[in-house]
């Protein structure tokens, strides 16, 4: 798992994290500190780019839920971008797709999550 961070071009107060690889137990161990740090330190919120994630384990799913809960608790927002069909399916099966704010791209996410920015 590799995590590449950049500022969201559509909203300077939002951090986008490009997760690359399997979000299994090992991947979660790499991604979790980066994701939680971003959630804790960002101004408006975090977008997780899932375009390169083709597997999400139980641990990976828990990370997404935890990150979302903590963002909300801190008055921020979390969204997922470009979720692959196999992963989208498990979010639907687990009844999480509504809660986790899924978007096609950064611009769409920024417009809908932070409309006044």
């Amino acid at each position: 798992m590799n995590v590449i961070q950049h500022v969201c071009p559509a909203n300077m107060n939002v951090v986008t994290l490009d997760l690359q690889g399997r979000l299994d137990a090992a991947g979660e161990a790499v991604a979790a500190p980066v994701v939680m740090k971003a959630v804790g330190s960002c101004q408006a919120g975090v977008l997780l780019d899932m375009a390169h994630v083709d597997f999400v384990s139980s641990a990976g799913l828990r990370l997404l839920v935890k990150a979302h809960k903590e963002a909300v608790a801190a008055g921020r927002k979390l969204g997922l971008l470009k979720v692959q069909p196999g992963v989208y399916k498990i979010l639907k099966l687990a009844a999480l797709e509504q809660a986790l704010n899924i978007f096609d791209d950064e611009t769409d996410a920024a417009k809908k999550l932070w409309p006044t920015a």
Binding site: S57, S58, L61, G86, K89, I90, L91, L93, A94, A95
Partner: protein
């Protein structure tokens, strides 16, 4: 707290526990959907191994928790639930593409169900848990195990062992969950939970019924009241030992175990002696009375839980009976089945009912009574070496498992004594109010997704095996070649005109010269009726021809075909023959093969219907006057003789009418949805010949060349349309002809131009649904015909118009009527019959292959335009 408040609090607790369990299991099921086959199989292997390794301690726990059964047998059950089940499921493909069948074009993919609720019975707590967990894991489902209150500890222990092993092998977290403290409320909350995909209910009837009533899909089981019939052909000692092996296994707790023995009276003494030798104790009547009062609860009308899984000695003690120490089974001789014979019920302990059957029928009836008394659809055991007995039993008795010559417990669960799928959940079908009679396993926990590829229908090109043509072919063939046919008795089918013009006589002489006996049936008139055909058949049945020669226009040839069919198959009915179909290969009434009694030679004298080479015959219903096309390739003549000299005497009007019939055949064959590379060149050639030679043949009937080309055109068009079929031109011509007695070819001509306009409209009013015809192309196809005729066709629209103009010109040149009105039909009569004609035309066999599927209103509109 008040009782109501306590109840409410209990319900809320149950609801939140259920929510938590299901949420966890659902998450696991979701994650599991991503796993590949290799990983799944690794997990299942690890789980099976772990279950097997813990077989002893789990068996001990099961006996200790429940106070039932036999430790050693519970060990075997745990081994069965791991080793046998794993062996059966290890190679099943449960992920991704399962099957790809080129013949059907169907791919099957696996889709897991989701969250399964596994209800575990008190009788087999650890083995059923191991079994259900393994099959759930193999099918990528998560499972929530819900044990019986009296067996919960060992149930949870089994679930935990499998879960830990699965997790260590990479399974998702929470893939196996369990209920810590079972309660009625929690079971109800789980069963009715929205997040559940399936309830796998193995247990008592109350529980199974609750599962089916919950609103969640369920697979349940039924009770078994298994009879074991020992027939006179059985190996007695093997049967007795088998029954005892089964009945004493785990003290008789398996639902598939024998509850009664039904013995053939011929071997009763031997069977009893053998049972007694092997430790069965036959009870006296007074003892039976004592036993039944303990074993069966008279109020609940069910077995007493206190005896379930207890050894024979204990059951005897509880009943106040003294039996020898080594008694394996208590046997009660019984007469009758029902509430008044309590021991005729299911008793999951070593107690057997014993019946004597005077005959095989008697035995089958007793078994039927027993299964209907609380065991319908479950299992039946048969000890027999007589195939007749086995067949009779199997056809009559309603049981999901009919176990032959094997102990019923071990036989019913499968895999040990036979090749039934191993399982610890045995469906009982409708008899047990279950959804299946299967031994439930992995395939029941998968949804199959079928990807259906578009499949082209195989088409065909079927024509007579021999077609002889050229001027003089008639004389050449019948004077020399006919001997090769090898027939001895020939019947000529023709109309009066063939007799009057001498052709029938000439033919008869040729056939006599060839050494045949000959009869002539000249009673065929235009539009042959069923009565005419039956007359011909009567003569054929008396005369027994081995050769039929049809001589004349469409009517004698059509009549000869129908006679041929009924002559060779008198049992076939007209209703069967004329039954409509969409796909000739899928038709309900199939035609028999012809040619066993006679061969058919067709000699057309008009140009023409093409009947000499087609699979069709048009018969008129004598009573209603309706025309029915009979259609089957068995009606295709064996040999066809195309001799234009036979058409020289055709009057001009007949020449023109039949010429337009041939033209409509070729046009319709070309635009048909069944048109192909095989029929297209034939259709185009026929159209070209007709346009060039019909005016000449109509103007000068003695023009042999024109006659030859028209005669060839008619047959070639027949070769095309017998394979590509026709369309609404003929649907309308059939009913116009039948209603107003308009000659068939003329009727075709009258609707030809309106039909072309209708078919050529774009987009079509209604699409023809046929896989080989993906896009409507009638307009383009008409334009191709125009181009083949050298007409302007730079665009499809131009091609259609120039073709229509050319047809109009052809009609003018040949004196063909252009409207229905011109034929003398009265307007009022036409209007009154319009609706009826449209409806009948819609039901014509030719409708289905028209390039634009017509509505009744469309047909009506065409008729109005043709008026």
């Amino acid at each position: 707290m008040s009782e109501t408040k306590k109840e409410e609090a209990g319900k809320n607790d149950a609801k939140s526990m259920a929510d938590e369990l299901v949420a966890q299991a659902r998450e696991a099921a979701a994650v599991f959907t991503q796993y590949d086959q290799e990983t799944v199989d690794k997990i299942v292997y690890a789980a099976a191994k772990a279950g097997c390794e813990h077989r002893l301690d789990l068996a001990r726990m099961a006996v200790n928790d429940t106070g039932m059964g036999v430790y050693e047998d519970k060990v075997i059950k745990n081994l069965f639930a791991t080793e046998y089940i794993y062996n059966d499921i290890r190679d099943i493909k449960t992920v991704g593409l399962l099957r790809d069948d080129p013949a059907t074009g169907i791919m099957e993919f696996a889709e897991p169900l989701g969250v399964i609720l596994g209800i575990i019975p008190v009788t087999n707590p650890t083995s059923t848990t191991l079994f259900k967990c393994l099959i759930a894991l193999k099918s990528r489902n998560s499972i929530i195990i819900c044990g019986s209150r009296n067996a919960n500890k060992c149930t949870i222990a089994a679930a935990k062992i499998i879960y830990e092993a699965a997790l260590a092998a990479g399974a998702p977290d929470y893939v196996i969950r369990w209920v810590d403290t079972p309660s009625r409320e929690l079971t109800h909350e789980l069963m009715t939970h929205q997040g559940l995909s399936l309830i796998l209910a193995t247990g008592g009837m109350g529980l199974v019924h609750a599962a089916y009533s919950s609103g969640t899909p369920a697979i349940g089981v039924g009770p078994g009241n298994v009879p074991a019939f020992i027939c006179r052909s059985a190996d007695i000692e093997t049967a007795v030992c088998g029954i005892l092996t089964s009945k004493t296994f785990d003290n008789g707790m398996i639902c598939a175990s024998e509850q009664a023995v039904v013995v053939d009276a011929a071997v009763e003494k031997e069977v009893v002696a053998c049972f007694e030798k092997h430790g069965a104790r036959f009870l006296k009547p007074a003892e039976i009375a004592k036993l039944e009062s303990v074993v069966i609860d008279p109020d609940k009308k069910a077995m007493n839980p206190k005896v379930v899984g207890q050894p024979a000695r204990v059951v005897a003690e509880l009943s106040g009976l003294q039996v020898p120490e080594n008694t394996r089974v208590l046997v009660a001789r019984l007469k009758g089945v029902g509430d008044d014979v309590p021991l005729s019920r299911e008793k999951l302990c070593p107690v057997l009912g014993f019946y004597v059957a005077k005959t095989l029928d008697d035995a089958v009836n007793i078994c039927t009574d027993l299964t209907h008394f609380g065991g319908l659809g479950h299992t039946v055991s048969l000890w027999s070496n007589s195939q007749d007995t086995i067949m009779k039993f199997s056809q009559t008795v309603n049981a999901g498992r009919i176990v032959l010559n094997s102990p019923s417990s071990q036989g019913g669960i499968g895999g040990i004594y036979n090749r039934i799928r191993p399982s610890l959940t045995l469906g009982c079908g409708a008899g047990g109010q279950n959804i299946t009679t299967d031994n439930v396993s992995v395939p029941h926990l998968l949804n199959i997704k079928r990807v259906a590829r578009r499949m082209q229908n195989m088409k065909w090109f079927r024509v007579p095996s021999q077609v002889y043509f050229e001027a003089g072919a008639f004389d050449t063939f019948f004077s020399t070649e006919i001997k090769e046919v090898g027939s001895r008795r020939a019947m000529i089918v023709c109309s009066g005109s063939a007799v009057r013009n001498g052709v029938a006589d000439r033919l008869e002489r040729y056939l006599v010269q060839a050494g045949m006996d000959v009869r002539v049936f000249d009673g065929v008139k235009s539009d042959p009726t069923l009565d005419t055909i039956q007359q011909g058949v009567q003569i054929m049945r008396k005369f027994s021809p081995d050769l039929i020669v049809a001589l004349g226009g469409g009517s004698p040839i059509d009549a000869a075909k129908a006679m041929w069919l009924l002559y060779e198959h008198p049992d076939i009915t007209f209703e069967e023959m004329r039954l409509r179909f969409v796909d000739i290969r899928k038709r309900i009434s199939r035609y028999p093969k012809l040619g066993k009694r006679a061969r058919l030679i067709a000699v057309p004298t008009t140009s023409g219907t093409g009947a000499e080479v087609t699979a069709f015959s048009v018969v008129t219903d004598t009573v209603t006057g309706a025309k029915y096309p009979l259609a089957d390739y068995s009606l295709t003549p064996d040999i066809t003789i195309i001799d234009p000299r036979l058409t020289l005497s055709m009057p001009a009007s007949v020449t023109v009418d039949t010429g337009f019939d041939a033209l409509s055949h070729a046009l319709e064959a070309y635009v048909s949805i069944m048109a192909s590379d095989y029929t297209d060149p034939l259709a185009l050639k026929a159209i070209q010949l007709i346009f060039e030679f019909l005016p000449k043949a109509a103007a000068d009937g003695s023009d042999l060349r024109a006659r030859e080309k028209m005669h060839n055109a008619s047959t070639i068009a027949g070769l095309a349309f017998t394979n590509a079929l026709l369309g609404v031109n003929h649907c309308l011509a059939h009913i116009l002809g039948a209603t107003f007695h308009i000659p068939h070819g003329r009727a075709n001509a009258l609707v030809m131009i309106p039909v072309i306009r209708y078919n050529a409209q774009f987009p079509p009013h209604k699409y023809a649904a046929f896989p080989n015809y993906p896009v409507p192309r009638a307009r383009e196809r008409y334009a191709e015909i125009a181009a083949a005729l050298g007409l302007p066709a730079e665009t499809p629209e131009q091609g259609v118009e120039s073709l229509i103009a050319a047809i109009g010109e052809l009609m003018d040149k040949t004196g063909m009527a252009k409207t229905i009105r011109e034929t003398g039909v009265k307007e009022d009569d036409f209007k009154n019959k319009l609706d009826t004609m449209s409806n009948i035309a819609f039901d014509d066999q030719c409708v289905g292959t028209n390039p634009c599927y017509p509505l009744v209103e469309d047909l009506k509109a065409i008729l109005v335009k043709a008026w």
